[in-house]
Amino acid sequence: MSTPATVHQTKWWSGGKSPFNLEYGKLMMWYFLMSDAFTFGAFLISYGTIRFSQNFWPDPNVVFSAFPGAGHTQLPLAFVSVMTFILIISSVTMVMAVHAGHKGDKKGVIKWLVWTIIGGLAFLGCQAWEWHHMITGAYPTLIDGKIELIGQTMAANPWGEVATAADVTKALSNSSVETLAALAHQTGATESHSQLLGMSAEELIAKINTAELHVREKGPVAFGGYFFGITGFHGFHVFSGVIINIVMLIMTQKNVFQNRGHYLMIEKAGLYWHFVDLVWVFVFLCFYLI
């Protein structure tokens, strides 16, 4: 980028002009994002504080190992990588839209905005799947001396440490027939579900392949609260970003910016969208990587 000589000659602070060579709207957007960074920062730091106040924390590689259509195959972090790339690419398309706006290229703006909106919606779809999978999941968990199948919710966490074989054997005899049937099914029993339900507890326990059975103790409850809370708050930002982009698309279509002579609104929407990407980078770090 060529820097005009004016940069060095202008008395930036003497009044009558912006000291940062930015119109007020962009300045406000920047400082709003800064403020929002403190909102997210506070969430993530709270999460870190609670995590540091616990003796045990679930391993993300264990928690986030599902992939749509892959069944029970363990694919640690694969799905979230896809989500991350979707968001990065949508950020790139947004850069292109802003650039097109800079040139006054209405067609370009529309094209790239549409791609960005698609990227945002794809991300939201992925997140919906991930949440759904975790909440409705049936993870064998050792609770009060018996095994129960629970999902990851705000109030329960199935990702404690792995239960010992002795505990599991003892717990199996206390567990309900429904749970045992489900466990037998999960660990490879060939009978149909109704057939399994017809069996006695002893028969079912014999059917369960303990080598395939991964029973864990209850994990820290706070994990779910923070995971859903923070990814939810981020998802809400993505959602509002998509809405903003749709509004921008409509306004571009209606020649609002063309008539105004500039596409500064697109730049501001772009800043917001990149910020959403930026936050995800840190959410990704805090929840999935470390």
Partner: protein
């Protein structure tokens, strides 16, 4: 959207400046002029009047709980007339008492001293003193007020729900505030409190962003940053503090709402309540305190800095002397703004905070004494050998300095973690923060109102009533809060409904009665001020000169009743700093006057 509404300083002058002088407004309806107005002056007045309404409510609450503290067990049938069940038999019920204490704190800290003080004067003064037609975005500015209004309506409505308003203290510490079973006030009242605060944060954010970008971008030609009047600098730092710290409270409030309504365990762990074992585990109540005070401490300076800035200005104008140490004032405000972010955990020394970490917080806290002392010395030296005019505004400004010193000194006690162990949660703390932050900021606000009233309404406030207001208030404030130090040193806890169960505290009975009586008198005098305020809007003595105080700053170059756009013609250009008083034999030289060739340097 705001783009179209924005008045560009230069294009206005060239293109359609007729629309912006005082006469261009006959097409405005009542609604667009006084209700959904985008004129920064009107919005400032809206903040002020809403703040006054809240101050009456919040002040009345303190009178009510002072009745209980001064006369425990005494029946006041009038209370039952007004509050029914909550004061059955004329006795304030414990739950009602806690609601009163909580709402008094919340209302005064946020609705009066944040919105009412910085909202009013940031809106009113920034465009006028920097030479702008309006805020950067008048539309967002209007939204800022209406979000505040919405927050007010919700907070007000919480007073009328059956289980009463929030009663967990203005800090809303969980678990008390997180569990509905903990008390009536922790039911719907707390949800309303949290929602109201969330809206309040949105309002303060919209305002703050506007103030910052206006001060940066909209200054008139020649108005460099070091030519800004000190109130503008103070409001600038206030806005920065708000923009960076309010979002952290927002996070805390959201997490608390989740804990209350969605069964999460952010702040809850190992709780048995009324014999019921709660399933929550793993949360940390201390975490909430960290989040709260990360805002809570900067909030103190959000309240105090605007008062400091206005006091500096009023003091210089009425001493007919340049402010002493303009750059030192800036530097110390900057230092205070930075330190404000680093010291929050000094409110938490007795929570089980890591003592080593606590010692770092002690160090950072005590550092604040340095810039505070610089400011105090600068005010005193501004007064020194000045040609002082004791206007009502000036008296309140001097009163501010007095209170800031008295209250600031006890801050040094409390900032030391070892002494804080004894003094924490006693009346000593109540005395400290009421003097240094509560009453001092109120004084800054009064000073500002008396001083800029002529600019706001084109009339003066009645000075005789003003002098009565000042003397009763300052004597009353010291009579109320000074004895509380002794109570606190003797170990009397704050927030207690009735301490007659302790023999050792019985000696303070008469003192408490005295405090309560003085509280009632001071409250009555504030009502007189409010009468003066509204009476003077309509019937006050008219201002005849556009510069009644002989001040140098730009707001006094506008017409007596400026219209939307502030200056009928071009915005004046600025040629000098704002404190050229008593220079070269002249009483004052306005900022708009070019520097003469044979003028002495300041």
């Amino acid at each position: 959207m705001s783009e179209a509404l924005h008045i560009h300083p230069e294009s206005t002058v060239v293109g359609h400046h007729d629309d912006h002088n005082g006469h261009g407004h006959h097409h405005q309806s009542f609604v667009s002029k006084y209700v959904f107005s985008m004129d920064h002056k009107t919005i400032g007045k809206q903040f002020l009047i809403t703040g006054i309404v809240w101050a009456v409510i919040g002040g009345l609450f303190s009178v009510l709980f002072r009745l209980q503290l001064g006369f425990p067990g005494q029946e006041f049938p009038i209370l039952e007339t007004f509050f029914g069940e909550r004061a059955a038999g004329g006795l304030i019920k414990p739950e009602f008492y806690y609601s009163l204490v909580t709402m008094h704190g919340t209302v005064l800290v946020f609705f009066v001293l944040t919105a009412g003080l910085s909202g009013t004067f940031a809106n009113f003064l920034i465009p006028l003193q920097i030479g702008a037609r309006d805020m950067a975005s008048p539309f967002l500015n209007m939204l800022s007020y209406w979000f505040f209004f919405l927050a007010s309506v919700i907070m007000l409505s919480s007073l009328f729900v059956q289980t009463g308003p929030a009663s967990g203290g203005w800090t809303m510490y969980p678990p008390l505030s997180a569990l509905g079973q903990a008390g009536d006030g922790s039911k719907i009242g707390t949800d309303l409190w949290l929602i109201s605060m969330a809206l309040f944060i949105v309002s303060s954010l919209l305002g703050g962003l506007n103030y910052i970008s206006t001060i940066l971008n909209m200054r008139t030609k020649g108005m460099s940053m070091t030519r800004l009047p000190l109130p503008i600098w103070a409001l600038f730092f206030t806005a920065v503090l708000g923009v960076l710290s309010f979002p952290v409270l927002l996070s805390g409030a959201i997490l608390l709402l989740f804990d209350r309504n969605l069964g999460t365990s952010f702040f809850l762990s190992d709780i048995v309540i009324n014999g019921e074992v709660l399933p929550n585990e793993g949360g940390s109540a201390i975490l909430y305190q960290h989040l709260f005070w990360f805002l809570g401490h900067p909030e103190v300076y959000i309240i105090l800095l605007p008062a400091m800035g206005m006091v500096s200005e009023i003091m210089s104008v009425n001493s007919r002397k340049p402010i002493f140490g303009y750059m030192a004032m800036l530097g110390s405000m900057f230092a205070i703004a930075i330190l404000a972010f680093l010291v929050w955990a000094h409110h938490m020394f007795v929570t089980g905070l890591n003592p080593f970490l606590g010692s770092v917080f002690v160090l950072l806290t005590l550092l604040i004494a340095v810039p505070s002392a610089i400011k105090v010395f600068n005010w005193l030296t501004t007064l020194w050998r000045g040609n002082i005019r004791f206007t009502v505004g000036m008296l309140f400004a001097i009163g501010f300095v007095s209170l800031f010193i008295s209250g600031g000194l006890t801050g040094i006690f409390l900032g030391n973690s070892t002494i804080d162990i004894h003094l924490h949660d006693t009346m000593f703390v109540v005395a400290h923060f009421h003097i240094v932050m509560g009453v001092a900021s109120m004084f800054g606000m009064f000073a500002g109102i008396y001083h800029w009233f002529p600019k706001m309404y084109g009339r003066y406030m009645n000075a005789t009533l003003g002098y009565i207001h000042f003397w009763v208030t300052i004597i009353g404030a010291y009579l109320i809060f000074w004895p509380m130090h002794y109570q606190g040193l003797a170990g009397i806890p704050r927030r207690y409904l009735d301490k007659s169960g302790w023999h050792s505290f019985n000696q303070f009975g008469d003192l408490d009665k005295m405090i309560t009586v003085v509280t009632i008198v001071v409250f009555a005098v504030q009502l007189m001020f409010i009468f003066n305020f509204f009476y003077s809007i309509f019937k006050g003595r008219k201002v005849t000169s556009s510069n009644p105080w002989g001040a140098t700053t730009l707001e006094w170059t506008t017409p007596i009743n400026p219209g939307h756009g502030n200056w009928p013609g071009e915005i004046p250009e600025v040629h000098r700093w704002p404190y050229d008083y008593g220079k070269d034999g002249r009483e004052y030289i306005p900022q708009t006057e070019p520097v003469g060739s044979n003028e002495s340097k300041h």
